[in-house]
């Protein structure tokens, strides 16, 4: 135990006293802490007294704290440090120290806290059981079995704490959830081995109602428009049915169009079928093969149709395929749009899209991305061609065999030549699987229960069925579903110890990949080489470069920055007519590519706020008012100095998820900045807040800023809104979908002046950006978020010395994100644990 600790202490000492920790003036004549006491007397203790605390005026009392033994009250002191670093204390308007005194005081406190932590490190304690969350389960299945299937329908979402859904303490079990694991395990093993399900399954893919389908969409074949592209895992060599359905209007009717609408179904880029909705110009009378055609010439066009933007492409006038019969025929047109096609087992891309016609382009040139709405009562159809509503993939039918899918290749590492060699082969297969599943070396005792299930399945059917049964059992093993961290045997309570290499490998892979360790990582751990800092560092770099790191971006950035909320953002159509699902997805793609580039290109964390580039396609560039970007492909686009779009605060994703459906909310944006960029969530409203006074019903439309002034007139509200609102107001030039605007909804010019919680004033997004860059808290906050996510527990006061250590170290390396990640991996809380 001691030698382990010694190693840590040496490495930590190296970082001592550098950069942000200024040398502390030591006055030999004064007792330790005397300067600090004087500082506090001058700036803190007029409010933070026991008496004020007991009256509920302040949450923390500082008057009885002994500044000479900081370590004894580390929890309170860490709070002091946090509030002061964020500029929240002393509050604006009170007597405030000059910068030198402020920094000196903080450096001294931090120095004391850090010294105590070095002398007696406290890594805290991760939970003994850490259940895999849904993302981790999916990725583990993918990496163990080479089977990438969407398990989100099979397992419920996980409860989040501290902003992340991988917090061990709240990843609980219940009978309901266990039933779901049982059923998921069965489906996974069956699919991986290509064993037929009891009945064919149907997967249904719905195209978002608000996705415009006028243009070619990302991931689609050239010369198409709209549609859907689906990566789908076909479980066996068999026939599958693909059925497609056209979108309806608001009255559940299929609209009529001048030109025939060709809908192509392709698998892996090969066309397998074209379905045609006849155009209005088609000859009258049903074609022989159809029960009724989409055209008939008897009845007049229903009233109200044939007007509006889509009229050019749609059939207008009487006698062109309108009428009730024609309508009914159109409604039935896609009833039999089903193609049966043999497909080999494994993942394939199913694409469904319309053939693009030239006239659609001219029609949409003026307002290329207006979200075209479907016709309804008194609403003319605004779509220029048919839209796809859904794709159903069903099967397997008439299976010809399990095929040679990637998952079978991965699992079946041997093929028994005859019955007598089966057991040995099964043993090999299951030993290899168990090692990956349990993330540790396995023994015969581990494999024994699996073999028992193998034999049972083998006795009932085939070798494959035996493996299926054993794999099913493996997938509900506690050591697959749970990361288990057990204290070393017979260790006294409260002992600090270094976790094993094998445990470290799992912490690392779940941190950076949301998944199990791969062979290389596990082998290094088994050889006990992973604790070598150089080896560990190489692994971190390798893992960041690996495609599995994409999951880190999705999960970490998705939750830190709220990108995961984008699907739930539904801006109101009348206010934001050119917002649609393609733009929503482009928002997410931009931020994910951007976030990834900052890490992969070894850039500074500060670039997250100030980068001179971003990633755009034509759709997004047009939204941002940036020219010369063509097509659906995303590419890096340089931004001019001082660009509005520089960094996260200029990105549509963040600006949209922090808005209401119908308008911007400076409160939500301000709160988001305080929580996620400054790490100082504003306190929730105090109990018993009186409702806002109803505004006098002025004839003037008030701007959001004007409406919010009321918030701040009201003292209980003001204390927090005075901090949140000015941060959000600086972004008012971005509307609720992140489009730039000069005027707000009241028609007046936007006043984008704002202020930091410490009162520092600035103007507009660039001012906000500069203010955040100047704050100590941004990198600290990112580091705390990384730490929370990496450990799967909340960051506590005793982790703060480690956080400061990481940031201090990174400050000498331009705050590179990779350096922060490496710092987390090398930190005491990540590498060590305390016994219960």
């Amino acid at each position: 135990m001691r030698s382990i600790l010694a190693g840590f202490v040496t490495s930590a000492v190296v970082f001592l006293g550098l950069v942000t920790v200024r040398p502390v003036r030591v006055d030999a004549a004064r007792a330790p802490g005397e300067d600090a006491r004087a500082f506090m007397k001058a700036y803190c203790i007029s409010c933070h007294t026991e008496q004020m605390k007991s009256r509920g005026v302040v949450p923390v009392a500082l008057d009885m704290l002994d500044a000479s033994v900081v370590a004894d009250n580390a929890e309170t002191w860490e709070l002091v440090v946090r509030k002061m670093r964020a500029g929240l204390m002393p509050p604006a308007g009170m007597k405030r120290p000059d910068k030198a005194a402020h920094d000196q005081f903080l450096s001294w406190i931090e120095g004391e806290l850090d010294r105590a932590a070095r002398e007696r490190p406290n890594p805290g304690r991760t939970e003994a059981f850490h259940r895999l969350n849904r993302t981790e389960y999916r990725n583990a299945v993918r990496d163990m079995l080479d089977l990438d299937i969407d398990v989100t329908g099979w397992l419920p979402p996980d409860d989040a704490s501290y902003g992340f859904d991988n917090i061990a303490g709240v990843l609980k079990i219940s009978p309901t959830l266990l039933e779901r694991y049982l059923s998921a395990a069965q489906k996974v093993s069956r699919t991986a081995l290509g064993i037929a399900p009891p009945s064919p399954t149907v997967d249904y893919f719905r195209v978002a109602d608000d996705r415009a389908q006028e243009q070619e969409l990302p991931g689609q074949l050239f010369g198409t428009r709209g549609g859907a592209s689906i990566r789908y895992n076909f479980p066996m060599d068999a026939t599958y049915s693909v059925r497609v359905q056209l979108s309806r209007d608001l009255n559940e009717q299929v609209p009529i169009y001048v030109e025939p609408q060709d809908l192509e179904v392709s698998i892996d880029g090969e066309r397998v079928k074209v379905f045609t909705l006849p155009g209005a110009a088609a000859p009258a009378g049903p074609p022989a093969s159809e029960p009724a055609a989409a055209s008939d010439s008897d009845a007049p066009q229903p009233a109200g149709r044939g007007q509006g933007r889509g009229a050019g492409a749609r059939a207008g006038g009487a006698g062109r395929g309108g009428g009730r019969q024609g309508q009914e025929a159109r409604n039935r047109a896609d009833r039999d749009w089903e193609v049966r096609v043999p497909v080999k087992a494994g993942p394939h891309v199913v694409q469904v899209a319309f053939a693009k016609e030239s006239n659609a382009v001219a029609e949409t040139a003026r307002l290329p991305f207006l979200r075209p709405y479907p016709a309804g009562v008194n609403i003319a159809e605004a779509r220029t061609g048919a839209y796809l509503r859904s794709v159903e993939i069903a099967g397997p039918f008439d299976p010809t065999g399990p095929g040679n899918s990637p998952s079978r290749q991965r699992i079946l590492i041997c093929t028994p030549a005859n019955r007598s060699s089966e057991d040995a082969c099964a043993n090999r297969i299951l030993t290899a699987l168990a090692r990956r599943a349990y993330r540790r070396p396995v023994t015969a005792a581990d494999v024994r229960p699996l073999l028992a299930f193998y034999r049972e399945g083998r006795a009932e059917g085939s070798f494959d069925q035996g493996i299926d049964r054993a794999l099913n059992r493996l997938l509900i093993s506690p050591e697959f579903l749970l990361r288990v961290e057990a204290d070393p045997p017979r260790t006294p309570s409260g002992t600090v110890y270094r976790i094993s290499d094998v445990t470290l490998a799992s912490r690392l892979s779940f941190f950076l990949w949301n998944s199990i360790p791969d062979d290389e990582l596990l082998t290094l751990a088994e050889q006990k080489r992973l604790n070598d800092p150089a080896v560990l560092d190489r692994q971190v770099r390798r893992m960041i470069a690996d495609p599995r790191f994409d999951s880190f971006v999705e999960s970490f950035a998705g939750q830190w920055l709220f990108l995961r909320n984008l699907p739930a953002s539904v801006p109101v159509q009348q206010n934001f007519p050119d917002f649609d699902d393609t733009l929503r997805q482009a928002f997410r793609t931009e931020t994910e590519l951007f976030f990834k580039s900052v890490i992969r290109e070894d850039r500074s964390a500060l670039d997250l706020l100030r980068a001179d580039y971003t990633f755009l396609n034509e759709r997004l560039a047009t939204h941002y008012g940036i020219g010369d970007v063509k097509g659906t492909r995303f590419r890096r686009v340089p931004l001019p100095p001082g660009s509005r779009r520089s960094g996260l605060l200029g990105q549509g994703s963040i600006l949209t998820v922090t808005s209401y459906p119908d308008r911007t909310s400076p409160v939500v944006r301000g709160k988001w900045i305080m929580e996620n960029l400054l790490g100082t969530p504003p306190p929730s409203p105090p109990p018993g807040v009186p409702p806002l006074k109803p505004p006098s019903f002025a004839t003037k439309v008030l701007s959001v800023r004007e409406r919010m002034i009321d918030h701040r007139r009201n003292p209980p509200c003001a204390s927090c809104h005075a901090m949140m609102d000015p941060l959000g107001l600086a972004l008012e030039n971005f509307d609720a979908v992140g489009k730039w605007r000069a005027l707000d909804e009241s028609g007046g010019p936007i006043d984008a002046s704002g202020a930091m919680p410490d009162g520092t004033k600035f103007d507009g997004p660039d001012g906000l950006r500069q203010a955040l860059l100047g704050s100590d808290r941004f990198v600290m906050t990112l580091t705390e978020k990384l730490m929370t996510y990496a450990l799967g527990r909340g960051v506590a006061y005793y982790d703060e010395p480690a956080v400061r250590d990481i940031v201090r170290n990174a400050s000498r390396d331009d705050y590179r994100v990779v350096t922060l990640i490496r710092g987390v991996v090398q930190s005491v809380p990540f590498q060590m644990r305390r016994t219960k």
């Binding site: 003994a128 059981f129 329908g153 099979w154 419920p156 979402p157 409860d159 989040a160 704490s161 902003g163 859904d165 917090i167 709240v170 609980k172 079990i173 219940s174 009978p175 309901t176 959830l177 039933e179 049982l182 399900p197 009891p198 009945s199 064919p200 399954t201 149907v202 249904y204 719905r206 978002a208 689906i230 309806r248 559940e252 859904s390 159903e392 229960p449 299930f453 059992r473 509900i476 093993s477 050591e479 204290d487 309570s493 830190w560 995961r564 699907p567 739930a568 539904v570 459906p661 969530p681 306190p683 929730s684 109990p687 018993g688 009186p690 409702p691 806002l692 505004p695 909340g794 219960k836």
Partner: protein
């Protein structure tokens, strides 16, 4: 791309299923096969169901109130929100004036009225302010009922919801999202996950299909797997220190409970399951989604697969819009109506919408015969919210509506106003009484409702 269902109801919400599920007219054919009750009309299954509205109802603290009936007593005058329930007047008992004190801010410095509104609704317990492993609430009324009412059904209870909970940053500071995501707690430390995907609910109710023989084999296999998993836990139990063993127990308890359920099902039912059409996913529109979830509850009741349900019509703090009824502001934002009459009126539309969907469900239950009456006759509902005036996060005078006929001891067509301080847990205890579930206390309960039975209030 989302996986969702088709649009209209009821038929088209179920897959036609390319050769998968052809044949039987929807659902009717299966009921005789599944329902033990059909054979024994005398056996009346009592069901208990709790339906929750997020973000309170359209009212303020100075007289505007779209929920509370304007008159008291028998033959009360319907409020605007309750009006769609007029056809069921005889079964309605509107209870005004009850409080949920445990949802009020305590002295732990935490705000979080939405969180506590949800988590205390059926527990009457002030939740522990934490995001860590020490999450602690109380056992909820539905979960007190589940082991009693559900002892012979395939699922002791169903936990359903409309909103997903994958969103980031939508929980109140210093409370775990666990408190906000469900009403149901089987123990003070075990929240039950909710499900919003109709297809998953369907599969939980009816499984993957297949023959009775195949299902029986499947159940046997699952049981032997769970047995074997218990061995693993015993081994882990020995590896872990004494302080960590409680967490192993939680898992072991869950394994045992699932084993118990499986053997219960094995004993109970060897009927052939008819081929059923399955819902395909989560509909985009609120009404379609809610109807589909109600339809599944109807199905579960009808086939007697469960007798206890919690259903959240939304998650507190949600920002869902309802453009189909002209509500384009997010739900939570709108609920903070700032005392503006036109905002409250607008918010009332959401309440009416919810009540219309409830009426649709009640109608479905009423038109389904069961034993000597209908499904509705043997069911007891509590419909309401954990907040009353949402603008101030009030937890007093909660909107609460008991729905149940004389067969379950509810004397309806009345609006009762309680003028003393009475916790809503007293009502929950009384409801449990009516369902034949004996509980002495629940959270902060101080007794039963003022007079012993609801019918006598």
């Amino acid at each position: 791309m989302r996986i969702v269902t088709k649009r209209a109801l009821p038929r088209r919400t179920f897959l036609r299923g390319a050769g998968v599920a052809l044949g039987l007219p929807l659902l009717d054919a299966m009921v005789p096969a599944l329902s033990a009750l059909a054979d024994t009309p005398a056996a009346v299954a009592k069901r208990l169901s709790f339906i929750y509205m997020p973000n309170g109802v359209a009212k303020n603290s100075s007289g505007i109130d779209y929920w509370t009936p304007p008159t008291e007593g028998r033959n009360f005058q319907m409020s605007q929100i309750l009006a769609p329930l007029e056809p069921f007047r005889d079964r309605l008992l509107v209870v005004s004036g009850l409080d949920q004190n445990q949802a009020e801010a305590g002295n732990d410095g935490a705000s979080g009225d939405h969180t506590r509104g949800t988590s205390s609704w059926l527990t009457g317990v002030y939740p522990k302010r934490t995001e860590g492993a020490d999450v602690r609430n109380g056992i909820s009324a539905d979960q007190i009922a589940a082991p009693v009412l559900g002892k012979d059904t395939a699922l002791p209870s169903l936990e359903l919801a409309i909103d997903l909970n994958f969103l980031a940053g939508q929980c109140e500071n210093s409370y775990s999202c666990a408190y906000l995501n469900t009403l149901a707690w089987t123990s003070p430390t075990t929240p039950l996950p909710t499900e919003n995907n109709p297809r998953v609910v369907f599969e939980r109710l009816f499984g993957d299909g297949g023959t009775a023989e195949r299902r029986a084999a499947h159940a046997r296999r699952n049981r032997s797997m769970l047995d074997s998993v218990l061995d693993d836990f015993n081994r882990l139990q020995r590896q872990l220190g004494p302080g960590d063993r409680a967490v192993v127990d939680e898992w072991v308890d869950s394994v045992r409970e699932v084993e118990r359920r499986i053997s219960g099902v094995e004993k109970r039912n060897n009927d052939e399951l008819p081929t059923l059409e399955r819902p395909t996913g989560v509909p985009e529109r609120f009404d379609e989604h809610v109807k589909l979830m109600y339809e599944l509850q109807w199905l579960a009741f009808r086939a007697d697969l469960t007798r206890v349900v919690t259903f959240m019509l939304g998650r507190e703090l949600n920002f869902r819009t309802y453009p189909e009824i002209g509500v384009t502001e997010g739900h939570h934002g709108l609920s903070h109506h700032q005392d503006r009459p036109e905002q409250i009126a607008k918010y009332a539309k959401v309440g009416v919408y919810q009540a219309e969907l409830l009426a649709w469900f009640l109608e479905k239950l009423q038109s389904t015969p069961e034993g000597d009456g209908t499904l509705l006759d043997h069911s007891l509902f509590l419909y309401g919210a954990g907040l009353s005036n949402p603008n101030t996060h009030a937890h007093v005078d909660l909107p609460l509506l008991v729905i149940g006929g004389r067969d379950v001891g509810v004397d309806g067509n009345r609006h009762v106003v309680i003028r003393r301080q009475v916790p809503m847990t007293n009502l929950l205890l009384t409801l449990l009484d009516k369902a034949g579930v004996r509980a002495d206390t629940l959270g902060d309960s101080t007794g039963r409702m003022p007079v012993s039975g609801l019918a006598d209030v």
